[in-house]
Symmetry: C2
Subunit: 489 residues, 2 copies
């Protein structure tokens, strides 16, 4: 057990070092360093993969004698990861990585003018590789089962289909019923970057970021990277319209807080990260949306926003901003979609990738099928593939099974938020005066400290007292849309 933990610790260190190589590349690396950095990243990934897949790890796992509950969890999770890692032949790993790089290239060229037909062969190849990857594992009911397992351990396609189907069926009428709301204050036109920076600084300090254990940097693609439980790094960007940078920072803060509040006893073990992609996303969405777009938040935040960006916020009451924050507006692009329409963007991607993988949809028919679903779910027309099927990089990089985690994250956030509202009845009053400590502590105690010690579904049951269920999220959205419409300026 001692030796197993030593080796797992070494692998964890290598993975964090690889994370730093990535973070540095996005945040500050001189451009010309890119080719050498690619080699360094490849070497560290290969080494940590080799160290983890070694026969010796298999033997140590076989003979490990856990001395407590934590060590039992370490062995269980490591064994699951080990078995999965060993089933994929090195050649296929290399093929997948090449497919991702080439697919990314073809996708960029398609977007730059070559069009969907140019991207189609790379997409075919990535689908074929995904099917090969799936075939490395015991046959599930669907080829997709093995893919979703990489992000949501234990979850099956049938269940994802049921949850996302119910979500879609609840969202379509909600979108159709939503009235027009003026949300320009948050979304339109440039804001002074220094003002945005000051506002983001104030908000992050209030929610719990301190400079002893956190960093905030600018990067083109906002992300969160954790070097250690005491060293969490967020990035955001301030060149977007409105105050999108603020919502981006709160989103990444949600991810970061999850990592920051993991039990220190889990450090340097495979348990020291979130339970799943959906669980991670639930935490980012909770801070971005449930907190950041709420009326109490803007009661507290508006004076700070006005001080930082007087031209933008000077004439408004917090009611105006809260209404704008909850505005529903069917649009074409997922990453800038509002809270309500967002789930429909995901539902259609999930349905399409499922059909592509099981062969009921041909790649050549994908753009048409995409446009059809956008019309059906969102009621808008797709003018061209840039605003349609070519907007996301995921399929170009061979990422199938990842999209649903965004919506599952919202669903979980809805369940968690319902629980939080029951257990912390005065939270709204606290947020309205800028106090976030009890929410932070509740999330830490009930979710974050556990890391990967529970499967995603065990954790839903444990935290929320029910299985995965889209109803609370739908109820939350309905209530928010109704309440914000009723807010008088």
């Amino acid at each position: 057990m001692e030796e197993l933990r030593r080796r797992l610790g070494e692998i964890a260190d290598l993975e964090r070092a690889a994370m730093l190589l990535t973070w540095d590349q996005e945040v500050g690396m001189p451009r010309a360093g890119a080719p050498a950095r690619a080699e360094q990243r490849a070497t560290l990934s290969r080494l940590s993969h080799e160290l983890f897949c070694a026969d010796a790890i298999g033997e140590l796992l076989e003979n490990a004698e856990p001395r407590d509950e934590l060590e039992r969890d370490i062995v269980r999770v490591s064994r699951r990861d080990f078995d999965r890692a060993r089933r994929v032949p090195g050649e296929l790993v290399a093929e997948l990585s090449r497919g991702a790089a080439e697919g990314h290239g073809a996708w960029s060229e398609a977007r730059a003018g070559a069009g969907f037909a140019h991207f189609a062969p790379a997409l075919e190849r990535n689908l074929d590789l995904a099917r090969q990857l799936s075939a490395c594992f015991d046959a599930g009911e669907h080829v997709y089962d093995a893919l979703v397992e990489d992000y949501e351990p234990g979850m099956r396609t049938a269940q994802v289909r049921a949850v996302l189907g119910a979500l879609r069926d609840g969202l379509v009428p909600l979108v159709a019923a939503a009235g027009e709301v003026d949300d320009r204050v948050l979304r339109q036109g440039p804001s002074a970057q220094e003002g945005q920076r000051a506002l983001v600084g104030t908000v992050l300090r209030a929610v719990g970021v301190d400079e002893d254990s956190w960093r905030l940097d600018d990067a083109e693609h906002p992300f969160q990277a954790t070097m250690a439980i005491n060293d969490v790094r967020l990035t955001t960007r301030f060149d977007q319209d409105g105050v999108e940078g603020l919502f981006g920072a709160l989103h990444e803060f949600g991810h970061g807080l999850y990592e920051r509040q993991i039990d220190p006893a889990l450090a340097r073990t495979p348990l020291a990260t979130g339970a799943s992609s959906a669980w991670h996303e639930s935490q980012s969405r909770l801070w971005e949306n449930m907190v950041g777009r709420s009326a109490p938040f803007w009661r507290w935040c508006l004076p700070h926003a006005t001080a930082a960006l007087p031209e933008r916020f000077g004439d408004l009451g917090w009611q105006d901003v809260a209404r704008a924050a909850a505005a529903v507006r069917p649009t074409l692009i997922r990453v800038s979609a509002d809270e309500v329409t967002y789930g429909l963007h995901i539902a259609l991607r999930f349905e399409l990738e499922l059909a592509l993988l099981d062969g009921t949809l041909a790649v050549a028919d994908l753009p048409g099928a995409w446009n059809e679903k956008v019309r059906e779910y969102l009621g808008v027309e797709v003018p061209d593939d840039l605003h349609g099927v070519l907007q996301d990089v995921h399929w170009g990089e061979g990422l199938f099974g990842y999209f649903p985690t965004y919506a599952l994250g919202n669903v979980i956030a809805g369940q968690v938020w319902a629980r939080v509202e029951r257990e912390l009845p005065s939270l709204g009053d606290e947020i309205a005066v800028g106090e976030f400590g009890s929410l932070r502590a509740w999330l830490g105690e009930n979710i974050h400290r556990l890391g990967r010690r529970r499967t995603p579904e065990e954790l839903v049951q444990e935290v929320c007292g029910t299985p995965l269920d889209p109803a609370p999220y739908l109820a939350y959205l309905e209530q928010r849309v109704r309440a914000s419409a009723a807010l008088m300026p």
Copy 2:
């Protein structure tokens, strides 16, 4: 050979990743990340050491069939490194690292008030470990031979003694003869940090720093770190008196340019760094002193300095600044010593560490011996050990054999500069108008591109046409002191 290069490339990648962990720790890591970072650094060092010392590397070196001159050099240098690395038992490596950590602690406590007696046992232990390390290698003439070999491959104690002795004998009268010069403009009182930053930016751009391949950051201890030939990073600080930050930046630029101009064909091999510590130091000193303290440099730089820091430079002519830059002033602290007295600080450290190691000086007698030598060489009295034997961290960390490389670097810089002046007769005129391209190209072509393909002594012979010789450096200093005294304001 293919496989050998693959493995050496992997090790090089790990070493660069370890460098990034260090750089990040000094430049931007949140404080609380330190304990986890220490683990990560230890893991990466241990892994790269293990990978390099593997039996398989020995066999590959044995059977390698180099296909060209470069591969012959790779095999030769790797074999030398491999043989040295394999001779030191893992236990001693661990002891040395523990001795360094504990010695550093004892040294800090001694400085914080506990006094030299508190540091003495740690120093004894480090000396004993250094003798054990030396005993791992074939007996040289002196226990010090094996230590200096770590920094200056092929150099022997007798030779260091001869060169540093001659340097000392030349410097003592030079210091005694130097007149009083007003150097306050460069050394005294705070300068506006924004002004210093602007000046350093202007100077670095002029000497050859571009943002495609370089970074400049603030750090408490200025240093240079290279992630790749195309990704070179400098740090400096702006909270020192005068414009020390500018000279620090030029110093680190000299180190960085060496790494930046290495032949790209050497990337990811053990040849991709400077020939030795002294050679590296020669390049930093050349840019800091030969260039940065020269009259032509200040003819070009003064208008920029005046624009950036008008209160400091506004009333002066370039002659005043050039005189101040060449001022000689015997003081107690090595790191802030001028160009001329600097070599004497090193000579006394070298003589003392040699005597400590061969047992002719007892640790208890060290402070007295130190103060005596300072009086003899520099003509000043040491008021307390903080300004004496406790000023440098090196011995606390068990670094014996390193000090001389600072002075050998100056000696080499003197020889290189004499050659440069012969080969680039119009360099002074170029520098006076802010052109540094021909110097950069000359250093790249004759020194930098070679990396570690020559031993330090071969490189001296090849570049300067003579063996290691302190005469050109002494002549340079004498000439500079004389010429600057003659400069009329």
